[in-house]
């Protein structure tokens, strides 16, 4: 199900402004990779280039290659819509569709695409996805109630259920816990641990304990100053980054000396 992502010499621009410069890294299948770094260093921007979501912003463009199993996402014949069906995304703020019930939110990826699905298949998919997101027990009796009635942590897990319902290969998470309380955060972190068995997961986080808890590999991004592009400073095993980093800036950042 999951795939290897190889990024080669990637530059990201917003109009004329270069937001991310020269990133090359390889993300192995069935691992959790964390991106850390100060605000504005381009880690979220870089994350969004992995499923071509940055194109939603007018003026954004990319140079370089993102290969998923040898296929460049930015080839002329690749449809960004198809990319996003393979590479799912969970956002910073939980964003269930307010017009839909809990079950419909899970089925959103199917229903919004006008795909036909039988009732029993739909029920099965809802149950499977909600169980996958550790939410089934809490909501199984109120599947037809609006998703916006859930708590923040439950909404975020609903968004994860929605993302895995379309059976992607990769799941990108953009600070998925920054709007949540510690208990909900723990629930999401446990979930990431379980999801790792099936999916390749990339997570952006400001919480370094979280990065060290959930990830196998960590990438540290930094920015030289305002208006300068963000750069990948160091990318290595999480234990190496946190215990024995090779670059001084990484050590300074994780030990809280700046940022």
């Amino acid at each position: 199900m999951s795939k290897r992502i190889e990024v080669k010499d990637l530059n990201v621009y917003y109009g004329k402004f270069k937001a991310v410069e020269d990133v090359s890294l390889t993300i192995e299948p069935r691992t959790v990779t964390a991106f850390i770094g100060p605000s504005g260093c381009g880690k979220s921007t870089f994350l969004r280039t992995l499923n071509r979501m940055h194109e939603v912003i007018p003026g954004a463009r990319v140079e370089g290659e993102v290969m998923i199993d040898g296929k460049n996402l930015y080839d002329a014949d690749v449809d960004p819509v198809m990319v996003r069906r393979q590479v799912g995304m969970v956002f910073q703020r939980p964003n269930p569709f307010p017009t839909m019930s809990i079950a419909d939110n899970v089925l959103a990826g199917v229903k919004l695409n006008n795909a036909k699905i039988s009732k029993s298949d739909a029920e099965h998919l809802v149950e499977k996805s909600l169980k996958g997101a550790n939410l089934w027990k809490e909501v199984k009796d109120r599947l037809n109630l609006p998703g916006s009635g859930l708590s923040g942590g439950q909404q975020q897990r609903l968004c994860i259920a929605r993302a895995i319902a379309v059976s992607p290969e990769v799941i990108l998470m953009d600070e998925p816990c920054s709007a949540l309380d510690p208990i909900s955060t723990l629930a999401i972190e446990d979930l990431i641990e379980e999801l790792k068995a099936k999916y390749t997961i990339v997570i952006v986080t400001h919480n370094m304990q979280q990065a060290s808890r959930v990830s196998d590999k960590t990438a540290f991004f930094n920015i030289a100053g305002t208006g300068e592009p963000g750069k990948l400073i160091e990318f290595d095993d999480t234990t190496t980054i946190f215990e024995n980093p090779h670059v001084q800036a990484t050590e300074d950042y994780i030990s809280g000396r700046f940022g």
Binding site: M53, V56, M89, T99, N113
Partner: protein, 356 residues
Amino acid sequence: MSTEVERVTTSKRTLEPKVLWLTAAASFLVSLGVFVVLSMAGITSGFDIVATVLWSAFLYVALSYVMSRIVEGKRKATDRLVAGVVTSAFVIALLPLISLIYTTVADGLNRLDGTFFSSSMRNIVGEGGGGLHALIGTLEVTLAASIISIPIGIMTAIYLVEYGRGKLAQAVTFLIDVMTGIPSIVAGLFAFALFAIFFGPGIRFGIGGAVALSLLMIPVVVRSTEEMLKLVPNELREASYALGVPKWLTVVKVVLPTAIAGIITGVMIAISRIIGETAPLLIIAGLSTNMNYDLFNDRMTTLPVFVYTQYANPGRDAQAYLDRAWTGALVLILIVMALNIIARILAKVLAPKGQR
């Protein structure tokens, strides 16, 4: 230290609500007395209820300020003064509306009968007759204008919010702003000039009126829909894109349903705006005393035009004409009210559920 003491004393001494109510009652009675005396002495012609209310409001605001200043101190007094002024402004804004509805209902009820809804003005001079032809005309012309304007307006708004970038979108926005300010008579002249090209001068029919009205309606629909679409959080669009949903499906299935309640309200406001138009319809739809169900043939009267002609050209029994005019106005208000209620119910049913 002194400020500390002052704060303690001011928080302890407050005006009781009972005292304020008594002040309000006293101000009303005083101004009532003054105006009754003035009208009895013949200085004003008749008793003036509006002036009475205005003066009692003014008196109350002034009195409560002075009393509060003495008892409660400066800050509370200012608070009461501003609250009083704001409330008075609200009452003043409401007075003409209440007066208008009262007059229309009182004068319109005279002819709100079966005959009004079952007959036209064909061969009527004097009493009797009705506004069925005008009612049908209003419903048909407004419906046709809505059918033209709502799709164009909503799609323009979708273009502006979801797709439009750069010069073209700016130009469209600018033109919409200009269209909002078009005097309605110009819209009528435009429709008349347009159809005169195809059907020769002197052309008058209902659909022409609908075209003129849609010219007035489109910018209102665009503006209100645009505002509603902008209110849809970008996160919902991104959530949909991230699921691999194409842009057009995102617009149709996520953005529009989320904004639908507001869009319906905006459309209803636009309909209310055009349903009372008179001038353009006088030019292009003409006026007629006959029943005419056909939008595409012959003159067609609408309720506002009906009210206007009844009032402007009374026949032998002038009161009968005035009564019909008032009833026509009342029916128009009732239609707008019914539309608003329907819109509210629809908006409530279709609005996104949940706590947000």
